[in-house]
Amino acid sequence: MTAIPLPRKLTRSVQKYTIPYLFITVPALSLIVFLFIPMVVSLWWSLNDYSGLQAAKFVGLNNYIELLSGDKIFIKSLVNTTVFVLLGMSIGPTLGLITALMLNQNVRFRSLFRTAYYLPVMTSLVVVATIWVMLYNRNGLFNTILQNIGLSKIGWLSDPHYSLVSIVIASVWQGFGFETVIFLAALQSIPRELYEAAMMDGAGAWAQFRYITLPSLRPVIVFVYIIGIIGSYQVFDQVFVMTAGGPVYSTSTIVHYLFTKFQDLRLGYASAIAYILFAVLVVFSYLQMRFSRERA
């Protein structure tokens, strides 16, 4: 069928300018309605005393001032979250690197071992938390083992000295397999010739690791840490299920505290918490952009 030239050309150029916008309409609208508008609203609410039931009352920066100077529980949550991030980030990626190095030694059944490390990563955090609540029970498996080797029981989740560390342990168990997989893939992409050349020059295992493996992994290490830090700062599910922030706020985290303020209908206050979290994450996102630009 031969089309009449002019209209066809016209439809072509109409298509050229409308079709791309049509293709991005739904994501763009979704972004505006579900992200940008709520973001602005949230920023406005953070400057108000707002319960969601009565009209909002403008209070300026009062919510922020109260949070950062007067609210001991919030400061505690901020500190707890930072401890959670620091502990988790000093154990998780290290375990990930060690296991990846082990799996990279030409081992048999590699995918079987990898599965073992990776299985918790795709398991829901709620599932992980319920399992660990049982393990941490006063009479649970861990305490039974402690008792049977002659030690005394530990209040894993009920003693404020241990509760946060217990949540870190469960979270590291859940997450480090992600780092194993990432590091293993990165290790396998390091050219073999580098190691062969180093061996010719008489470099031992440690020198090879120090001067070839580590530098080659640098970009991936940066990626893993930044992504991990951003994710860990938003910790919520485990805390909600395992301790609900207790005992005596020893495991209260930023997002968990935000959640309780949301339930208390202090929506302006909760929004201010969200923006403080946002500010913390922006710093790390900025770092990531800096580092990934360096790589490119």
Binding site: Y17, I19, P20, Y21, F23, I24, V26, S30, F34, L35, F36, P38, V41, S42, W45, T99, M102, S111, L112, F113, T115, A116, Y117, Y118, L119, P120, M122, T123, S124, V126, V127, A129, T130, I131, W132, V133, M134, L135, N139, T144, G177, V181, I182, A185, A186, V220, V224, Q234, D237, F240, V241, V255, F262, L267, A274, Y275, L277, F278, L281, A296
Partner: protein, 280 residues
């Protein structure tokens, strides 16, 4: 060092390596095993000392309880509905938009894409509360709409798919256009088939994320009829703290579908995970 001693040292190293791998793998699996074992025990033996490594007697009663007295099947259906519809939405909308960003030229393209990337940095908690209010004013609380519609597309998905599509040669698309395909035709007949590995990754990420999501479904559902598995499980854990064996039956039922999907699609899982980190 003699060759013999060297060999001996090597064998010893290998032995230690395998021992470490096996011990750590077992440590990783124990919590899962303990959960499964507990779900098959009678409640009075859950915390027995010495621990029961094999359930004795073995009972299905906890599963029967969870499936008949608590609407776990309903939670399961909800999780499947929400995860499947959300994933379909992502596959369609994200890839279509990614195609526009990767392969079409239009005024403002790069600026719009940059704004989307910036939005990727915003933590969900920032828009959580107003989003909840929007859902409430639309009377969407306790409906599938609230669980699905706000998550029907994702910037991350668009970003991921765009990365894949950048590698498709432009000449292929031009050839299809010369043959008379319109833009949607080019997308459907040329781009989609070539982007299939990327789509597999997108499906895995979206399905897993939705299946395991907790905060949002927890906030927009009040009645058990709309709970997804993680919300239902958390509820079970809080309300029914005394009966650990039943909670573990619920835990197994929540985790199992994802584990099965993983075991079948392991290669795609791993490739998808590493694609984001290494191929930037």
């Amino acid at each position: 060092m003699t060759v013999h001693a060297k060999n001996l040292r090597y064998s010893f190293g290998r032995l230690m390596l395998y021992a470490l791998l096996i011990v750590t793998s077992i440590l990783m699996i124990i919590p899962f095993y303990w959960s499964l074992g507990t779900s098959l025990k009678l409640e009075q033996f859950v915390f027995s000392n010495p621990p029961q490594w094999l359930p004795n007697p073995l009972t299905w009663a906890n599963y029967i309880h969870v499936l008949t007295r608590i609407p776990f099947l309903r939670y399961f259906a909800n999780s499947v509905i929400v995860a499947v519809v959300t994933t379909l939405g992502h596959v369609f909308f994200d890839t279509l938009a990614a195609y526009a960003f990767a392969k079409l030229t239009f005024p403002g393209r790069d600026r719009i894409f940059f704004v989307m990337l910036l939005a990727l940095m915003v933590p969900f908690q920032v828009n959580l509360i107003p989003l909840y209010k929007i859902m409430a004013s639309l009377h969407w609380i306790d409906t599938y709409l609230a669980l699905i519609v706000p998550n029907l597309t994702s910037i991350f998905g668009i970003f991921l798919m765009r990365q894949f599509m950048m590698t498709i040669p432009g000449e292929l698309l031009d050839a299809a256009r010369i043959d008379g395909c319109n833009e949607f035709g080019v997308f459907r007949r040329v781009v989609l088939p070539l982007a299939l590995p990327g789509i597999a990754t997108l499906i895995i990420f979206t399905f897993m994320g939705t299946w395991n999501d907790f905060l949002w479904p927890r906030i927009v559902t009040n009645s058990e009829k709309l709970f997804t598995l993680p919300v239902g499980l958390a509820q079970l854990q809080m309300k029914n703290t005394s009966n650990v064996a039943q909670i573990m039956a619920g835990t197994v039922l929540t985790a199992l579908p994802m584990i099965i999907v993983f075991l079948f699609m392991q290669r795609q899982f791993i490739e998808g995970m590493t694609a984001g980190a290494l191929k930037e």
